[in-house]
């Protein structure tokens, strides 16, 4: 909107500006009302601390999409997790990372429009698959995480529920907790079974290593068909991790790993490196 007014006082200008802002707000409110009709909600899929996810259909193209609704509070404006998620997702353009189609406002609430996939990694592992497909999935997930880390971004919520699968190709979703690397961050992130030891001991200064830890857990889960550490509380989780401290010996004695290749065990071992833990205990 361009305004050219010559030879007028600053106060007059200011009043005109205020009125124009109000008109703008009204126009945008009606524009968002027209977009309201574009997506029809079919059913609720999931719910979290950040908001609710719906399955919906696009009226114009008859395409099925996923709508992510954020809980907006009146006296805080745009929520910080929404800000981080949108600005990070706009940066990432990769076949194994979910694409953000658009962001719209329905009834004064912020919605994200994304592609819809129906298969989860946990559901996918319930059936038997060829070894070739599983290897491909592991490789693609590693590529996607490398791509994220190169942009100085930490995902912070890697778990099998956040990896969707279409045609034997993985897609990373849910960047609600992810953020740009900085010296101070909150320790209470990631699901308990995939949480790294530095997070369990309430450390403020961590880096990309926490993502690698949960990746190692996921790779082991793909191979064994069940989660690696199943702790019931934070202390139980730490005790389970303590068993692994001798590294290779633990893997050799455990009968679960007998069928696996040595190189594969090395890969898991590198992801779940215990340098940090040894410092704590000594």
């Amino acid at each position: 909107m361009q305004i050219v007014i010559i030879n007028s006082n600053a106060t007059e200008l200011y009043v005109i500006h205020k009125i124009l802002y109000q008109i703008k707000d009204i126009i945008y409110y009606y524009m968002s009302a027209s977009e309201n009709v574009r997506y029809i909600k079919i059913q609720k899929i999931g719910e979290g601390a950040y908001g609710i996810i719906y399955k919906a259909q696009d009226v114009q193209t008859e395409e099925i999409v996923a709508l992510k609704k954020f809980k907006l509070s009146d006296n805080e404006g745009v929520p910080s997790c929404a800000l981080r998620e949108i600005s990070i997702l706009n940066q990432l353009n990769h076949p194994n990372i979910i694409k953000l189609i658009s962001q719209i406002i329905i009834n004064k609430k912020l919605h994200l429009v994304m592609n819809y996939y129906d298969m989860d990694l946990t559901e996918y592992l319930k059936f038997n698959h060829e070894e070739f497909h599983l290897k491909n999935i592991i490789y693609k997930i590693l590529l996607a995480v490398e791509f994220i880390h190169n942009r100085k971004i930490i995902h912070r919520d890697l778990q099998p529920n956040n990896i969707l699968i279409t045609n034997n190709e993985p897609v990373l979703i849910d960047f609600g907790l992810s953020r740009v690397l900085s010296p101070n961050m909150t320790p209470g992130v990631t699901q308990l079974w995939y949480r790294a030891p530095e997070l369990l001991s309430n450390c403020n200064t961590y880096d990309y290593a926490i993502d690698m830890w949960s990746l190692g857990c996921i790779i082991a889960e793909i191979a064994l068909n069940k989660p690696l550490f199943m702790g019931s509380s934070e202390i139980h989780q730490l005790l389970l991790i303590k068993n692994i401290i001798n590294g290779n010996e633990w893997f050799l004695h455990n009968s679960q790993f007998a069928k696996l290749n040595n190189l594969f065990i090395d890969l898991i071992n590198v992801c779940i490196s215990l340098e940090f833990l040894e410092i704590i205990i000594s």
């Binding site: 909107m1 703008k24 945008y28 404006g77 745009v78 800000l83 949108i86 706009n90 900085s182 961050m185």
Partner: protein
Amino acid sequence: IQEKEYKEDINYKRINHLDFHNFNQDQLQQLIDWMITNVKRYQKMSYQTLFHCVELLDTFLCNTKGFIADDLQLIGSCCIYLSSKFHDIYPICVEDIIIDICQENYTIHEFLSMEYTICRKLQYNMYFQTPFEYFEKIFFHLKPFLSQFYQDCEIK
């Protein structure tokens, strides 16, 4: 691939936005000084927040037209609030910013609607490469040389 992205970064829309607005350079300078002093006063905010909010102000003014000098304080404080949300663990409250930093010149409703217009104009793209990150990277690589340099100085 990286070279291409670097070129796109350089060709990013950088115009002299002073031609499209109704204020002069001194007023903009005053605003940035005022923002820096206010961000420094709050101990919780990091240096990343400071650089990010100035960058945010710059890109917002590049993409809009026709603001006057009285609006500048509102835009600046909104930029501080947004970047604090983006980078800090515990972002500052709206009331803190309105009472302490703006000295109650604006109501909450005006403040939130301005924040909303900034978000919509930039289409929620808040991820910028700030000079701070370049400095961080350069000094990270220079660290062994610097420590050696200081050791040599001590001996002399």
